[in-house]
């Protein structure tokens, strides 16, 4: 009988002990992997969203900062306006190289004139835009025309000919952007001309007309000269243009970053409690098992098994159980995070992006190793203790 066969026989021989050990490994692996995937996914997503924005400073009406972050991060439709004349004022500030206005809109909720309910829509000015165009270059090199839109990763056509109904107007979906895990994935992008055309048609085609206030924009995206002190520039903008608030890209999503840090602290704390507890529990289980199996292992020694063989068979049993438990734990963690990612995003208020397959496999591997190491560590002392016992005494007791 090989070492593994002996270990497997012992596992199936005492199902309660095996279940307890496997369950501990499952909990350690599942929690560690779930927390790692969640925190890394959120951090990656925040970086991607900031990169995709492509602006050094985003200018919004004063008091609309939180709404702006909610729209970009969670896709919650935002409704705020500021005078379009601010665009020229901002462009005139020294240190600013490019400015581009954007208008934020949303589809109606539960209305048949809109294919998708409460969808966040971003209308940009193709003449001045420097943020949306770079992403469009792969999908639509010529740029978007009238009635053409590009969607985030979640957006799909609902009407024939790649169409989506927006306020009763059918627009053509020209492609999808790479996923970011943020609200941008569920947003629709089109030009200001398309937005105005939809607004004109909505008066007769939609259940409620789309209103775009004349000479108003929602936000202005701004690019600074290379080497400019962005903090100083933001102060200058705030001083010169009243009623607006400049957000530096580095400080964008600050509330989410804070949320993420507190989440990280909680996870570390919970892990610091769970891990030692699991090791102690498994250690106790193996200590009891070692005492219970004293005679059985004594017989094994009397039949010629070396101390090393006895200790190794116990450790092989522990490792096998840890591997099985941790594999199930890793499967459940990945399944839960994949299926419930949107619920997690909304509940925790953080964006989330699944890691690429290679990185996911590496993280699963680390989770399995951590659980196996924990069980190995817990079983090590009882295994050494029982292997050192004299077979004659063990069999007599």
């Amino acid at each position: 009988m090989s070492l593994l066969q002996l270990a497997w026989k012992n596992i199936s021989g005492n199902s309660l002990r095996s279940w307890v050990v496997a369950l501990c490994a499952l909990v350690v692996a599942a929690f560690a992997l779930f927390a790692t995937l969640l925190l890394r996914g959120a951090a990656t997503s925040l970086e991607l969203a900031t990169d995709r924005l492509g602006a050094d400073i985003v200018v919004v009406p004063e008091g609309a900062q939180t709404e702006m972050e909610g729209a970009l991060l969670m896709g919650v439709p935002a409704h705020f306006w500021m005078p379009a004349e601010n665009v020229a004022k901002l462009a005139a500030i020294p240190g600013v190289t490019a400015v581009s206005p954007q208008v934020y809109l949303a589809t109606l909720e539960g209305a048949s004139c809109c294919s998708v309910s409460q969808m966040f829509m971003i209308a940009y000015d193709p003449q001045t835009d420097f943020t949306v165009r770079p992403w469009l270059e792969l999908e639509v090199p010529a740029g978007l025309g009238l009635g053409e839109v590009i969607g985030g990763d979640y957006i799909s056509a609902t009407e024939p000919d790649n169409g989506i109904l927006v306020y009763g107007d059918q627009v053509t979906l020209k492609g999808n952007l790479e996923p970011t895990g943020t609200g941008l994935d569920q947003s629709l992008f089109f030009t200001l001309d398309t937005a105005r055309a939809i607004a004109r048609g909505s008066a007769t085609q939609a259940e409620q007309p789309l209103v775009i206030p004349p000479d108003q924009v929602s936000a202005v995206l701004l690019k600074a000269k290379p080497g400019t002190d962005l903090e100083q520039l933001a102060v200058e903008i705030y001083r010169k243009v009243p009623g607006i608030y400049p957000i530096q890209s580095a400080s964008l999503f600050q509330s989410s970053r804070t949320q993420l840090n507190s989440l990280l602290n909680t996870v570390v704390l919970v892990m610091a409690l769970i891990w030692p507890l699991a090791i102690v529990l498994i250690g106790l289980v193996y200590l009891m098992a070692a005492n219970e199996r004293r005679r059985e292992l004594g017989v094994l020694r009397a039949l010629g098994a070396t101390r090393r063989f006895v200790a190794t068979s116990l450790l092989a049993e522990a490792s096998l159980l840890a591997f099985c438990g941790a594999s199930v734990g890793a499967f459940l963690a990945v399944l839960a995070i994949y299926l419930f990612r949107r619920l997690i995003m909304i509940s925790l208020g953080v964006p989330f992006l699944l890691p690429p397959l290679g990185s996911l496999a590496l993280e699963i591997g680390i989770g399995l190793l951590l659980a196996m190491f924990s069980v190995f560590l817990a079983a090590l002392l009882p295994a050494i203790k029982i292997s050192r016992q004299d077979p004659a005494i063990a069999m007599r007791e």
């Binding site: 896709g75 909720e109 539960g110 209305a111 048949s112 004139c113 294919s115 998708v116 309910s117 409460q118 969808m119 979640y154 799909s156 609902t158 994935d185 569920q186 259940e207 399944l335 839960a336 299926l339 419930f340 949107r342 619920l343 909304i346």
Partner: protein, 144 residues
């Protein structure tokens, strides 16, 4: 082992049948308004209703896994369970589907619950099929 797998299958069946009642868009007061002003149920509601058709055979397979000791019966319960789990996955994805917006409650909660229950039902059913063994016969009485 078969007891645990049977319980998993029954829990999944209950999840498939009950979860849509509380997690489809209609349960949160969201209905589609047609051009003539009527309010109609969205398709996630019908996907949820259809899940009952997958939940019933899955629950029966789970009960058989708990009660039966015959290898053939356990294997058949495994096949029925796997087919029901697959059906539970196909209904909200390919056959009927859910609402268009990924941020609607049916896509955030109902669909993931149904998919998770379907996947777990398939895994448990396959495990039941693979681990099904003939019951051990009682030892023959020793000859006098």
């Amino acid at each position: 082992m078969k007891t645990v797998l049977g319980i998993v299958m029954i829990v999944c069946a209950l999840g498939l049948a009950i979860a849509p009642i509380f997690t489809d868009c209609e349960s949160h007061g969201k209905l589609l308004t047609t051009a003539d002003g009527r309010s109609v149920s969205m398709k996630c509601h019908w996907a949820g209703v259809a899940e009952v058709a997958a939940a019933i055979p899955l629950a029966l397979a789970g009960i058989y896994a708990l009660r039966s000791r015959r290898k053939e019966t356990l294997r058949f319960a495994g096949i029925v369970g796997a087919a029901s789990g697959l059906m539970a996955i196909l209904l909200p994805t390919l056959l009927i589907g859910t609402c268009g917006s990924p941020m609607m409650i049916c896509n955030i909660l109902m669909r993931p619950i149904l998919l998770a229950a379907g996947i777990l039902a398939i895994v448990a059913s396959i495990a039941l099929f693979v681990t099904a063994r003939e019951p051990e016969l009682p030892a023959a009485p020793a000859a006098a």
